[in-house]
């Protein structure tokens, strides 16, 4: 019963972050892009908690709570923008909204 090494926890966080990044880069559906952003934020929080657990301090968990609040605010505004985009373009393809106007 030994403690989990720091490297393996950070490796898990890195793999999850990488999967989220691949999702953001590859997917076209904007809802799935937002989901991938959530995966990346979750991986960042996991890295914070792993580091906090390594030194036995609660600071990592506090940072995870801040990341959580930021993710909640981001997703509420992002999903409202997705609804707006669906109303304007009648699609969820991110490539259809690649031009700026004004």
């Amino acid at each position: 019963m030994t403690a989990i090494p720091l490297e393996e926890g950070l490796l898990l966080a890195g793999i999850l972050f990488l999967l989220g990044l691949i999702g953001v880069l590859v997917r076209r559906n904007i809802i799935l892009i937002l989901l991938s952003v959530e995966i990346m934020l979750n991986a960042v929080g996991l890295a914070f908690v792993v580091a906090g657990s390594r030194w036995g301090q609660p600071d990592g968990q506090v940072m995870f709570i801040f990341v959580l609040a930021m993710a909640a605010a981001e997703v509420s505004v992002g999903l409202a923008l997705v609804l707006e985009m669906h109303r304007h373009f009648k699609t969820l393809d991110a490539d259809q909204a690649s031009k700026m106007r004004g």
Partner: protein, 208 residues
């Protein structure tokens, strides 16, 4: 509790990889919920039970339900045969078998951990929720205030985008009717909600 950590990590990676490769949005959401539950078990294995509970409640609960609401609002996906065919597609094993298997693995892990007793978590360096609360409302009090401000900004932003939509819809309705008389707003058939009066106020303002 290394077995708990490695098995949960494997489930999390598998579920996340399946999330970003799904074509149906709701299936991706199912796999992501499983992935978040697996990460919650990883947190528990790391000796952070408070954050594990927050992960389940806020991430897998609230935020994923928000995504589900939007997917249902937009009514995505092909529905050729109407409601019966859609129900048949929902009950197809291809849709729910993968997440169910991964969630069953997590459940077995959880039952095993609870049966063994939570004494020996990760070498015994468990960080209690009380410590987190003391840190959160002690040196990080300014951060808590900033987080509340950020959540307020998110609330105002989401409400602004939503109410803009409603005002524009009221405007298009007014454009569709050829001669909108001022008494028409008083009829119960054309204004079922008291909210509509606010939309008309916006419209008359724009006409001015």
């Amino acid at each position: 509790m290394n077995v708990l950590f490695y098995l949960s990590a494997a489930v999390a990676i598998a579920a996340t990889a399946l999330t970003i490769t799904r074509t149906v949005a709701v299936h991706a959401l199912l796999y992501l919920v499983v992935s978040l539950l697996a990460v919650a078990l990883v947190f528990y294995a790391l000796g952070a039970p408070f954050v594990a509970a927050l992960e389940v409640i806020i991430y897998a609960g609230a935020i994923m339900v928000l995504f589900l609401f939007v997917i249902m609002l937009l009514n995505l996906g092909p529905q050729p045969g109407g409601e019966a065919a859609a129900a048949g597609a929902w009950l197809a094993p291809r849709a729910w078998l993968g997440p169910a298997i991964l969630a069953a693995v997590l459940l077995v892990e959880l039952v095993y951990t609870l049966a063994r007793g939570a004494g020996g978590i990760a070498g015994g360096q468990m960080i209690e929720p009380a410590q987190v609360g003391m840190a959160l409302f002690g040196p990080y009090l300014l951060g808590v205030e900033l987080a509340s401000l950020l959540l307020l900004a998110g609330l105002v932003g989401a409400h602004h985008l939503g109410s803009q939509r409603e005002a524009e819809r009221a405007e298009t309705q007014a454009n569709l009717s050829p001669n909108p008389s001022p008494t028409k707003g008083g009829e119960p058939s054309s204004s079922p909600f008291p909210r509509r009066e606010g939309g008309q106020g916006v419209r008359s303002e724009r006409l001015l």
